[in-house]
């Protein structure tokens, strides 16, 4: 199923999600408000997106953006699910009860960005040791031990 077909299919079944759909660099993207993330994910799962491929976050300075990549084998289509999360209170509902694949991937997003996943059964650091201070992939993370390369331009 190509992206326009996916959009039409999505719009026919979930008209409320339709205005949130866009196409970026050839990928279908569904940008939802953070509080609707779980429901949108559950709708997409119902629609046939049975694999949660990737969970990650991006620090945009003003806010975090959660990025989920879902894939459907039956439709042979993929979709990005994105939502903005406030930096002051980075909190989003966990998708573990929809896809257990989120179990480790959400732990990694917590480890690197400090995003709290509500309802995650085992939310603790995964790659960094316990007791590590700060969240390294945040843009304002400072570590005196890090050597910054000189600018070439």
């Amino acid at each position: 199923m190509n992206i326009p077909e996916l959009r039409d299919h999505l719009c026919a079944i979930h008209p409320d999600l339709c205005p949130l759909f866009s196409i970026e660099f050839g990928d279908g993207v569904l940008s939802v408000p953070c509080e609707k993330l779980y429901d949108a994910a559950a709708d997409l799962r119902e629609l046939g997106f049975d694999r949660l491929g990737m969970v990650t976050a991006v620090d945009h300075g003003t806010e975090f953006e959660m990025v989920y990549r879902l894939h459907s084998r039956s439709m042979s289509a993929a979709i990005f699910l994105k939502c903005g999360v406030s930096r002051d209170e980075p909190r989003v509902r966990s998708l573990v009860d929809l896809w257990p694949a989120a179990l480790w991937q959400e732990r990694e997003a917590y480890d690197m960005f400090g995003i709290e996943f509500e309802g995650h059964p085992d939310l603790r650091r995964i790659l960094l040791p316990e007791g590590w201070e700060g969240f390294p992939l945040r843009k304002d993370y400072c570590d005196d031990r890090v050597v910054r390369r000189p600018d070439y331009i």
Binding site: G53, V58, W99, A101
Partner: protein, 381 residues
């Protein structure tokens, strides 16, 4: 000592009996952990009641380092992700970047990428089969498999000068064209490799002890494989017919005739045997790719050294020896990636270990870990 007892505690079993439960620490440096993986194992006698992997011992912060390098300087970093299959991470990164920056790749480069990646698949599967067999005591298989792997590594060395960290696939093409006589050596390898595979199949999978150790151990159902995001031979061993080369075809893969081997039981035996059969298919692809490849440029000329794609994000993925390997890049218009995320198949597959190991013997834990084929450079990044 790498296996040590952490604690002893008494627990009440389901049938009312009281047993002493041992908590044993396996690793992080242990001959059978395929790198540096620590597993905290709760044991009732010799039976695993809970296994908890502790990872991150090889975490180098590659995603963070990428933010401080130019787009071209990130390519050598990707070599260090999956270090027994460096070509894959090179390619996945380059695909994401090419998508973001709108770089076209010459056809010969696409064929060369397919050729090296299929050889890499064979080399990686040989590593996996050999070391997993050695874990369960079949040391002979290890020697046979590493002999095959060595021939590919020698071919790679001739091609790009490196044996492990190739830095071969570059944005816009590959770093070198094939040297004279290389293609003939590769074709000759295919012929001998098929015979070696048949021999290994008899030697290992036909061996009654190996079958006993692998069959029915660490069973993963197809539904769990999908829900847990498993990919590659781990998912296909459970009968999930999912291979990006077929189901989300990229590069020139639609031009080749090949099959996707799948298992049916989802146990360690099926996962390992799927890898063996994939090597036959890789030989088929390799021969077709070499036959179809036309002379021409092997890289895009005139690319600037400082690539600065327009702001936006792009994701692209390939089928690595371990599964769906994806790279997600965010650009902000500067010559450095704003964010790079590696969707690592080994990381997602390793998350299955607690579920698969529960209820098996401690010695089976090693076999199950080997059948998931984790490479810790990619798990920890």
């Amino acid at each position: 000592m790498s296996v040590e007892i952490e604690s002893r505690e008494c627990v009440v079993r389901g049938d009312g009996g009281v047993v002493e439960q041992l908590v044993v620490n396996v690793g992080p440096s242990h001959p059978s952990t395929h790198g540096v993986c620590r597993v905290i194992v709760h044991l009732d006698g010799e039976v695993v009641t809970k296994a908890e992997p502790v990872i991150g011992y090889l975490h180098r912060g590659i995603e963070k380092m990428a933010e401080n390098r130019t787009y071209l300087q990130v390519v050598p970093l990707t070599d260090r992700l999956d270090y027994v299959g460096s070509m894959y991470a090179n390619w996945a990164y380059c695909r994401a970047l090419e998508r973001l920056a709108g770089i076209r790749v010459p056809e010969r480069a696409e064929y060369l990428r397919v050729i090296v990646c299929e050889m890499q698949r064979i080399a990686s599967h040989m590593m996996s089969l050999g070391s997993a067999a050695a874990d369960s005591g079949a040391a002979t298989m290890f020697i046979y498999a590493f002999d095959q792997r060595e021939r590919i590594i020698e071919l790679f060395e001739e091609l790009c000068g490196a044996r492990l960290t190739y830095n071969y696939v570059r944005p816009g093409g590959v770093s070198f064209d094939v040297p004279e006589g290389w293609v003939e050596t590769a074709l000759a390898f295919c012929r001998t490799h098929r015979a070696a595979l048949t021999e290994m199949d008899r030697l290992y999978f036909g061996n009654v002890i190996a079958r006993d150790r692998l069959k029915g151990v660490g069973v993963l159902s197809a539904a769990d494989a999908v829900a847990w995001g498993a990919s590659g031979p781990v998912a296909r061993g459970s009968g999930v017919n999912f291979d990006l080369r077929k189901h989300d075809p990229y590069s020139v893969y639609p031009r080749f005739d090949f099959d996707v081997p799948t298992g049916s039981n989802g146990d360690c035996y099926d996962r390992a045997r799927v890898r063996l059969f994939e090597c036959y298919e890789s030989c088929r692809i390799l021969e077709q790719a070499i036959a179809q490849m036309e002379p021409g440029p092997f890289r895009t000329e005139g690319l600037p050294r400082l690539l600065a794609p327009r702001p936006g994000d792009a994701y692209d993925h390939i089928e690595s020896a371990r599964g769906s390997l994806g790279v997600y890049l965010v650009a902000d218009g500067t010559p450095r990636p704003y964010r790079m995320k590696v969707r690592s198949p080994a990381f997602c597959n390793l998350a299955l270990l607690p579920m698969l190991a529960e209820g098996h013997m401690l010695s089976d834990l090693v076999v199950i870990l080997g059948s998931l084929d984790p490479v810790f450079g990619e798990v920890d990044r």
